[in-house]
């Protein structure tokens, strides 16, 4: 038993280097600020990225994530702060001398060159590579991205997905220490996006390259990333694994940004080591939490409950259930695999509940519009955020 535990711990340290206090960060952003005139695009961002991980910068438009990426690639100079790659300060190093490659959102394929020439371009800039070597490496990477039959085509003769793979191949063929991806899956349709997400992860594991991905799509971030950095208005709001970000958001913004959430504002009326209670007018009652909050007494807090953690029933769940509220179903959205219910509770607030369609139910068994229902959740489900 102990040996197994120790083995698991060692794997954990290797797979989660950010937990190890002695681990050397591969990339360090230290107090990076970028101003365009008076506008502050990036505000004092500090970040550590470790080797071999897929790090995702997630945020809405204008949050500064692309600017951060471009500063790392060398296309913008930070107004303040330094960037270190593998211990080396990147200040003053132009993009063509950084061991970093970027995959652009628009792919930026050279229209006057074939797929082969596009990919070989980067290798031709390196000194000391013979023609045959370049040809071999190009052929190898074409194999990996499965584009070998399209080698002599020009970009305008390819589909969107194929162009994306050419862009990927072009950036990987130089075997960079880091690959930067700017909204890599934005231009693809849903099915292709899902397939490409897993392909990207496979390629990353195969080649062992560190990825930094910039995206506004949460699904993309949740699928690809080993860690996500959520950005808002030029600042990093929270960094964590997808699970941590989703289940344990630290601020209202993060809770609201990822997935959907029901936010109940209230006063902290009881705060003990193993339980807490929040008096919430929005709920019209008391929210029971099964852990302590360690916040100031009578502080204003928000309880965030995810829609899938609320159960919706036609009858009162029973006396021993702590968190329970009555409401009327206002809207139902049938998504196929699950249904979304918008329930209006007595206080007037609309609560969002999702339920998987696990069984086939007849029309009377299924919950319908304007029905009175009972919503309940476990005391461990809410996350309490204080800002």
């Amino acid at each position: 038993m102990q040996a197994a535990e120790r083995r698991v711990d060692k794997n954990k340290a290797k797979n989660e280097p950010w937990r190890d206090p002695h681990a050397e960060a591969y990339v360090r952003f230290e107090n990076i600020t970028k101003k365009f005139g008076d506008f502050v695009a990036v505000n004092n961002v500090s970040l550590k990225i470790f080797k071999g991980e897929i790090f995702c910068l997630l945020g809405g438009s204008g949050c500064g994530k692309s600017t951060l990426l471009r500063m790392f690639a060398g296309f913008e100079t930070p107004t303040a702060g330094s960037i270190y790659l593998d211990g080396q300060n990147m200040a003053g190093v132009p993009p063509y001398e950084r061991p970093v490659n970027m995959m652009f959102q628009s792919y930026a394929l050279f229209p006057h060159m074939t797929v082969e020439k596009n990919i070989a371009f980067g290798l031709e800039q390196e000194k000391g590579l013979s023609r045959s070597e370049i040809a071999t490496r190009v052929a190898d990477i074409l194999e990996i991205v499965k584009l070998t039959p399209y080698a002599v085509r020009k970009p305008h003769q390819l589909s969107g997905g194929q162009r994306q793979r050419v862009a990927l191949a072009r950036s990987l063929v130089k075997r960079p220490k880091l690959l930067l991806l700017d909204e890599p899956l934005g231009a693809l349709d849903k099915k292709l996006r899902e397939a490409t997400q897993f392909e990207l992860i496979n390629i990353q594991e195969q080649l062992g390259v560190t990825f930094i991905v910039v995206t506004h799509d949460q699904e993309e971030a949740m699928t690809l990333a080993s860690r996500i950095g959520v950005m808002n208005r030029g600042e990093i709001v929270q960094i964590g694994t997808p699970t941590e970000i989703y289940e344990f958001p630290m601020t209202k913004f993060v809770a609201d940004f990822i997935g959907s959430v029901n936010m109940f504002e209230g006063q902290l009326i009881e705060d003990l080591p193993d339980r807490a209670r929040i008096q919430s007018e929005e709920l019209g009652g008391v929210i029971y939490i099964d852990h302590g909050i360690s916040s100031a007494p009578s502080a204003t807090v928000w309880a965030a409950i995810r829609p899938e953690k609320i159960s919706i029933l036609r009858a009162h769940p029973g006396e021993n259930v702590e968190n329970c509220v009555k409401g009327v179903v206002k809207e139902i959205a049938y998504m196929g695999d699950m249904s979304i219910y918008l329930v209006k509770i007595d206080s007037g607030k609309i609560v969002r509940v999702t339920q998987p369609n696990a069984e086939r139910l007849s029309d009377d068994e299924r919950i319908g519009w304007d029905e009175t229902v009972w919503l309940s959740w476990h005391a461990s489900s809410p996350v309490v955020v204080t800002q």
Partner: protein, 341 residues
């Protein structure tokens, strides 16, 4: 062929051999009014206007010039040629028969090939045009590049500055160059005053003045197509090149330059084709002992009154330029198709 078969093809389209075939065979005399109704649609009528214009103002004059080039020279007449088409009467006994006699004199064309004067002026024209095109390219490309990189407000100002000279008379601008280049002109006076030279430099009536004049006059024709092409370039391509390890010069040579080729070709042809037939600038600024082909034509036409020879020269000039023009058209078509994709 019965009526139904003849009209079986969809209305408004022509048969394999084109409009004439359609007119005569598919429709035939009884249905010519129907032809007008079917084919002279609004779209086609609009095309008819430029066709008509070109027909009246280019095709017919061209045919006239072609005819005169085959005419017999007679400098003392008015006009100084005998038409190749003459109606003669052949007297055969009691019957007087009229016949159309066509007499094609090839003296003009033969002279073009054999006379060294014409050869040298043709080659000189080509040389001058080529060198001027190269000079315009060397001067115009950096200017077009700089304009395309400037901020939008500055860009508009620069473009206006490029076009501004066209608002003044072309002749006046050439005369201005005379004023600058002549022995007691501005440049010489300034240099003498400063003391760099002791005697005025001969700049006028030299090849140097000719190149300066042509390059100056045709520079906007090089800058504008180049700018139009460079302005459409995608900046992220250069960023991608930089990211892949290409320094600024490499990126320019391998990305910007190849992509600006259509612009270079368009600008070069827009300078080369008119420059070959340039008359005013060589007449005012160029040497008097080595003539370009247009001046040659002028002399032949007005001084020697050799209309057939002059027309032969004109036809030769046209043929000389047909190849570059066809090439230009090919390039334009290719760019249009690429833009459509």
């Amino acid at each position: 062929m019965n009526t139904t078969a003849r009209l079986a093809a969809p209305r408004g389209t022509h048969g394999r051999l084109g409009p004439l075939w359609t007119f005569f065979f598919r429709y035939g005399p009884p249905r010519w009014s129907r032809y007008v109704v079917d084919h002279w649609t609004g779209q086609r009528l609009v095309i008819a206007v430029p066709y008509l214009w070109l027909g009246i103002f280019f095709l017919i004059p061209f045919l006239i010039v072609l005819t005169i080039s085959f005419a017999h020279e007679s400098p003392l007449d008015r006009p100084p040629y005998d038409s190749p088409f003459q109606w003669v009467y052949l007297d055969e006994g009691a019957l007087k028969q009229g016949a159309l006699q066509i007499r094609l004199m090839v003296h003009g064309y033969v002279q073009l090939i054999t006379d060294e004067l014409y050869w040298s002026s043709m080659l000189f024209s080509l040389q001058v045009a080529a060198v001027s095109t190269l000079l315009c390219l060397c001067l115009g490309y950096p200017m077009a590049y700089a304009i395309s990189r400037a901020s939008p407000t500055s860009r508009n100002i620069f473009l206006m500055l490029v076009i501004l000279p066209f608002w003044t008379s072309f002749l006046l601008r050439v005369y201005a160059w005379i004023g600058l280049l002549k022995a007691d002109g501005v440049i010489n006076n300034v240099l003498l005053a400063i003391g760099i030279i002791d005697e005025p430099i001969t700049m006028l009536k030299t090849n140097f003045a000719l190149y300066v004049g042509i390059t100056y006059s045709y520079l906007p024709f090089m800058i504008l197509p180049l700018y139009s092409n460079l302005e459409k370039h995608d900046n992220t391509l250069l960023e991608a090149a930089s990211d892949l390890g290409a320094g600024p010069i490499r990126a320019f040579l391998r990305i910007t330059l190849p992509l600006s080729m259509p612009g270079i070709l368009a600008g070069s042809l827009l300078v080369f084709i008119p420059a070959v037939g340039e008359y005013v600038i060589p007449e005012l600024l160029g040497r008097t002992d080595q003539l370009m082909i247009a001046t040659q034509l002028y002399h032949e036409f007005f001084n020697n009154r050799g209309w057939p020879n002059a027309c032969a020269v004109a036809i030769a000039m046209l043929l000389l330029l047909v190849l570059p023009i066809m090439f230009f058209q090919r390039v334009q078509n290719r760019e249009l198709q690429a833009a459509r994709k």
